[in-house]
Symmetry: C2
Subunit: 197 residues, 2 copies
């Protein structure tokens, strides 16, 4: 009984100091921690090389301080220009878009999810909570040569990150043939429009 | 010289009786025959099991006679409902759409272009020439769960067929995860809109 109790006590510790008041059995702990709003935010930059963690309010200052090279564009309707899409291997393109008083991170990732089949994954993240993200919609559009490919969805919170969305193809997915159809001289322009809903 | 001449003569024979007046060196023959407007039309049904060939005017009568099971819907804006998308292996779904005084063939094909990675390819073909096809545009749309995936392009002529378009991903391409995001009980509705341009 005592050791059971100890495990129970252990299981509420993770984000309790951050404000989480829940008390769960240890078996429910991993599942809850995944969605706990008090779980610290990690650096949203793809690639996972930056180990920073902190509060939501600290994310933008962190990006501006530690990832100065990320371009920011203002406005609801911008062009995310990915240069040199033919670069070999796994590559990430990242930029920020500011509108409606919020900051959005645009990510284009090239990777080989299936061996021998390189694909591109494009997605918009809100620097905000999942609840805040539900107030917005985004549209990604590839245009050219009498063709258009469009993906519309709800932005993901940076709290959820991009990995699961890419795993489930819950984003704009296209292969290198499509990229070449729309690219101009190795550069791919993606029209990004964010709206409130 | 004589044998060279004979080869030249041979090279104009293929579709000359159908009306092609071109005379080309034999080395140019395969390339021209691929695009020759006098090349007979083959049955546009995917799968290549039907060996029928004939003139453009004979295609619709052939489809109505030999492929009676293909559904036809009237109108510019219809829903192409693909049932049982989870059926294993390579599967084709086909239907006809009639509007603007023309017949269009809608094809959804599931195949494993890359080993271990099943994908869906959706495309609209015009029962007509490539030149006629350029007067139209089509839109394919998957809708649901606060997400929308849209592909807009020029219909392909059945003279060109679907194989090359699928090879180059020059159509709506999505994987089984995306299909499940939009499917309802194993059935996938694709909104198809055809317009003149």
């Amino acid at each position: 009984m005592i050791s059971g109790n100890r495990m129970h006590l252990d299981s509420i510790l993770s984000y309790a100091s951050a404000g989480c008041l829940l008390s769960l059995h240890h078996s429910e702990k991993p599942e809850h921690e995944e969605v706990c709003e008090f779980r610290p935010y990690t650096c949203p930059c793809p690639g996972a090389s930056c180990k920073w963690q902190g509060s939501l309010e600290a994310v933008m200052p962190h990006l501006m301080h530690a990832h100065k090279s990320i371009t920011t564009l203002q406005g609801e309707d911008i062009v995310f220009l990915a240069t040199d899409i033919n670069l070999p291997g796994a590559v990430d393109w990242v930029m920020m878009q500011s509108c409606f008083g919020h900051h959005f991170m645009l990510v284009l990732e090239k990777q080989e999810k299936y061996e021998g089949h390189q694909q591109f994954f494009a997605i918009v993240l809100l620097i905000g909570t999942r609840k805040q993200a539900e107030n917005f919609a985004y549209r990604l559009e590839l245009n050219g040569n009498r063709r258009r490919l469009t993906w519309e969805a709800t932005p993901r919170s940076i709290h959820d990150g991009v990995a699961a969305a890419i795993m489930n193809s819950d984003c704009l997915v296209f292969d290198t043939s499509i990229a070449h159809l729309f690219a101009d001289n190795g550069n791919l322009g993606i029209n990004v429009t964010i709206s409130m809903c």
